[in-house]
């Protein structure tokens, strides 16, 4: 359907974000991500990495620059942002499951309402996805009856149910108890293996080293280092990155 020769599916160019209170959250951040690539963004808290991730589906509007998803300019007023968002899945730090709906209902809601799928189709796909994230036995549980790790896996299944081209992960394991981090990372690893394009903001350096194609370091709203995991973790000459790695590793 698409005739792009351009391998980049996400192109962010000179993205600026200045809040009304004057806080300069993003300073000329540029990043492009290829199809099937896994990019991990790390950096100290307040460095603007979550803000940047959220500009990729316009949950955060930008003050200057532009963001293109699959060739579509998000800053263009004519762009139907809902259609772009339907193809860009997002997983949040605090899960944000719909508490009044069961796991399965959470997963089938958007396919039915946005993609106008029939209930049968949505349920079939939903069950398949919940099975894939290891929750076949909890499909009728409400979020309040699930552990943090289980809730985050439902949230991943919910995003996948829209058959997205891209998955954005905003610190998906930061709100989890340590023993549940692994189960969520495992699901993300298998997604990466299947060739999903992923942008992940995380503090899990092990995940970055193992899964990422590229690792990005942000600090004070600036993108400072962008490199392969090997060079990023072992051979970087950047002082600020070395200081940060020294603190977290």
């Amino acid at each position: 359907m698409t005739e792009h020769i351009d391998p980049s599916i996400i192109v962010a160019r000179d993205v600026e974000k200045i809040y009304p209170n004057g806080c300069h959250a993003l300073k000329r951040v540029s990043l492009s991500v290829n199809r099937g690539e896994v990019v991990v963004i790390v950096g100290p808290s307040g460095s603007g990495k979550s803000t940047f991730l959220r500009t990729l589906n316009q949950l955060e509007t930008i003050s200057a620059g532009n963001v293109r998803i699959d060739g579509i300019d998000l800053t263009d007023k004519a762009t139907d942002i809902n259609r772009v968002r339907a193809e860009v899945g997002m997983v949040f730090q605090s899960f944000n499951l719909f508490p009044h709906k069961t796991a399965l209902e959470n997963v089938i809601l958007a396919p039915m309402r946005v993609l106008k799928k029939s209930r049968e189709d949505a349920v079939e796909k939903g069950k398949e996805l919940l099975y894939k994230v290891g929750l076949a036995d909890r499909i009728h549980s409400f979020p309040s009856q699930l552990s943090g790790g289980q809730q985050q896996r439902v949230a991943i299944a919910r995003a996948l149910a829209m058959l997205p081209m891209i998955m954005l992960f905003d610190e998906p394991t930061s709100a989890l108890d340590p023993e549940m981090v692994g189960e969520v990372l495992d699901v993300m690893k298998s997604l990466a293996k299947e060739g999903m394009t992923m942008v992940v903001v995380t503090h899990e350096m092990g995940f970055a080293r193992e899964v990422a194609d590229r690792v990005v370091f942000m600090e004070d709203g600036e993108l400072i280092v962008e490199d392969t995991p090997e060079r990023f973790f072992d051979n970087s000459s950047n002082e600020r990155l070395q200081k940060f790695l020294g603190q977290v590793l």
Binding site: R85, M90, S94, N96, R113
Partner: protein, 316 residues
Amino acid sequence: MDKQYNKTFWNFIFIAILFGIGSVVYFSSKSIDYTWRWERIPQYLINTEPQEIRAPFDGSIKLSANKKTLTVMPDNGEAPQVIKAFDILKVDNGDMVFEGDVIAGVDNWRIGPLTWGLIMTLKLSIVSLLFAVIIGLFTGLARISSNPALRNLSITYIELVRGTPLLVQIFIFYFFIGTVFDLDRFTAGVAALAVFTGAYIAEIIRSGIQSIAPGQMEAARSLGMNYVQAMIYVILPQAFKRTLPPMAGQFINLIKDSSLVSVISITDLSKAGREVVNSTFAPFEVWFTVALLYLVLTGGLSWLVQKLEKRLSASD
């Protein structure tokens, strides 16, 4: 730690205090020589007295052989009156009757004025509640809209309505708006109640929506839902559940406030009470009965809302 109370003992104290209050009411009525006439009240709720059928003109009675059909033959040669539906016969074949004489009776139950009042109050409450919820929902949404025109309009409406007494609003609706648009009493009353209650419901809905974590809206929007879909499928169902208790309070207020429309001569429960007092001279009994009937309405509503709350708490 909670202190452990002796339940039986304190329940007994509770009953004793209620009994004490009841006795005070009883003895204070004794002290003013009030004669309780509770037996006068039931007929104003349901009237079981046979309904009388009177002769329409002077004439004579003709009965059919099986006494099932009664015909009044007029003296002046006009068309005879045939009466078939009756339970009690007060006349016999060939009797002379004059216009207005009781000739038969019908044994049917009729609803008394207090019950009519109750029905009117119920009707007023349900219709205005429906409109109040619609007004409240849209105003509540406009109140949190980022569009300044919508937001300011809803703030103005809410402040105007909350800042003026309902009684004054009812008069304005009936005498001004009612005259301009030629509204009948009931419509004017319903409009006043709906507009009044709508302002409070708007604030309840606004606070309900604002109490939902912003992440819910973000999650819904990130899945490609538009604002309206996110509201309908994600935010409002959660807000609805959270606002049930204050909403129930507002609904109960509406039922009670509906008594004020009696000032524009709508015969609701309160006005019916006033009328019955005038014909029975038993004010204590009538007002206690009216209070009890209001309690039945509000209590029933409370009970319904509690059941609903229980059902919705499945996901907690």
